[in-house]
């Protein structure tokens, strides 16, 4: 090693070979004349065998070759090729749609086949691997996704009207918007409320060991109860409250709907939040506090200028965990009529309409990844500032 001959990057090599296999063997696209009739599936080469197929095959082969003897330069080239491939996928799908869907089929629906899903997944893995090998920053990693996003957006707007997912969305765009809003509102409200409550609880815990023990006991216990069960268990008492307490009924509290969802979300969010705030306040290096006192800072100054800035990254880490968790749990809350994107998932599952399931599940995953990245980088940035 180290003398000219570098060993192959087995990770990229095997991922890319898997890509090639998926591309050449599995079905890429399915076409159905309407929503009810099951579609027929086509492999990539069956649709367009000439240069369009080569358009994707050639870059994949190129990456394989580059990964065989990788140096910095070749890895960069492989990265660029992978970004290109990701951007080419929707364009290829558009072309395939144009070939397969005849103008005489206005209801035709194009489904994305296992080949394309797998390709998308594997190419993203290649991207992660190359980003790590080249030691690119987190924000650079997100920039690498831009060409793909632009390409999808363009294709969806211009050419991919027959895409089943798109058709599903267009059929209920108003519903989608309100579900998305509801989802965000529920998550936001639960996270914000739990932040305030958790801060109070954590401060109380710092004062009294009894509250600390009891608090963590209850919250830990709560966390082990499955979400569906907790949502269910809240139905009865809230239904009772809704029918017996007028002002609660007036603001919309009932067994079904936002109220049990919000309460359960709050309950689940409290544990990670309290734990992180507690740790954040406890684990500031005592030597730092002592020296701050020694310099003559007042209690207030110590808290505001030393404790808080040092604790903030850990608190934001708590917000990150809580938000990601709440986004997933809110989807479950759809079962008790709380609305949100979970509605599409469960309706879709009920009607065996898989595109509708995707319409609910994909945005939820994107939201979770986005929240994770946002708060993750925020806490990282603050931490760097804190230690600098």
């Amino acid at each position: 090693m180290g003398e000219g001959r570098v060993s192959p990057n087995w990770v990229v090599l095997s991922l890319m070979l898997a890509c090639l296999a998926a591309w050449l063997i599995l079905d890429a696209v399915s076409v159905a004349p309407n929503r009810i009739v099951p579609g027929s599936a086509y492999a990539a080469l069956e649709i367009m065998s000439g240069w369009p197929a080569l358009l994707l095959t050639a870059p994949m082969l190129a990456v394989v070759v580059l990964a065989w003897r990788p140096d910095q330069q070749r890895l960069k080239l492989a990265l660029a090729t992978t970004v290109l491939l990701l951007a080419l996928l929707p364009l290829w799908l558009s072309a395939a749609t144009a070939v397969l869907v005849e103008p005489s089929m206005p209801q035709a629906r194009v489904g994305i086949g296992p080949s394309l899903w797998l390709l998308l997944f594997l190419l993203l893995l290649v991207l992660i691997e190359l980003r790590t090998r080249l030691a690119l920053s987190r924000s650079m990693g997100w920039c690498l996704l831009l060409p793909m996003i632009v390409s999808w957006w363009l294709s969806l707007a211009l050419w991919l009207e027959p895409l089943a997912l798109q058709r599903e969305y267009q059929a209920r765009s108003a519903q989608f918007t309100s579900a998305l809003t509801m989802h965000l509102v529920l998550v936001g409200a639960a996270v914000a409320a739990s932040l305030v409550l958790a801060a109070l609880l954590a401060l109380a815990m710092r004062r009294h060991a009894g509250i600390r023990r009891a608090g963590f006991g209850v919250l830990n216990f709560l966390q082990t109860i499955p979400s569906l069960a907790l949502f269910g268990l809240l139905l009865a008492p809230l239904a009772w409250l809704g029918t017996h307490v007028d002002w609660l009924a007036a603001i919309g509290v009932s067994g079904i709907g936002w109220a049990p969802a919000f309460l359960a979300l709050l309950g689940y969010s409290l544990l990670p939040m309290v734990r992180n705030i507690h740790v954040a306040l406890e684990e500031v290096d005592p030597a730092v506090i002592e020296s701050a006192r020694g310099m003559g800072m007042s209690r207030r100054q110590v808290f505001l200028q030393v404790r808080l800035p040092l604790a903030l990254p850990i608190v934001i880490e708590g917000i990150r965990i809580t938000t990601v968790q709440a986004i997933g749990l809110t989807a479950v809350a759809a079962l008790i009529g709380a609305g949100g994107l979970g509605t599409f998932i469960f309706q879709g599952l009920g009607q065996a309409a898989m595109d509708m399931v995707l319409l609910g599940a994909l945005p939820i995953i994107v939201m979770a990844l986005f929240a994770d990245a946002l708060f993750g980088s925020l806490s990282e940035r603050l931490r760097q500032g804190g230690t600098a």
Partner: protein, 255 residues
Amino acid sequence: MKPGSLLARHVAPVPTSRRWLVPMAWFILLLMLSAGMGQLEWLFRLVEPDVREVIYRRAGFFALLGQHVMVVGVASLLAVLLGVGGAIAVTRPAGRDFLPLVSQLASIGQTFPPVAVLALAVPALGFGTLPIVVALLLYGLLPIVRNTLAGIDGIDPDVHEAARGMGMTAGEVLRQVELPLAAPVIIAGIRTSVTVNIATAALGATVGASNLGDPIIAGIVNGNTAYIVQGALLIGLLAITVDSVFERLQPASQA
């Protein structure tokens, strides 16, 4: 470091019989409730005075509990085998190339909501038990892989060097040093995995599997709170039983 307390931990552990008292109690409660839910009809009558049927009877609670445990058990067992095995593989010299990708994948994957994973398994695999097992397996893998990696990575490199320097083979280092030292972290990962899977499996009722989620879904659909309470109680008890077993199983961290 208080050597006294450490000594106490090693020399005088809680007697085995007493240690398992709490999980046993939860377990017995779970069994009793599964068997004798019918006896509690009067209680559920109080919750739902107006409906015709207050006890869920489409399937026996024992059968539902069995199904639930079965699905979670199979998925978790496979997840442990694959997860621990995979994490060990990528920490060996031969598999080390894959370590960065696997560890990043495990942490990114954990941000995927379990419901979404379950929902995506259905289009890929159809309805029934299979997509649930696969979804639980995939989702359950992540905390196990992540914790196994963290556990092995957290071992003092000097301990590792000493083990090799003393002439332990790679297998001996793995079995006698790495795995025992990483065990507390690995078990914590398995605990997270199983707990989440018990909750997620309940959602399987929406994709055609029959398990303890069934009464809840049926209750929500029919507006019958008694059904919901029955399902919720049993799932909650199952989760708590399993969790308390793991709590006892988890050895004190040695690191």
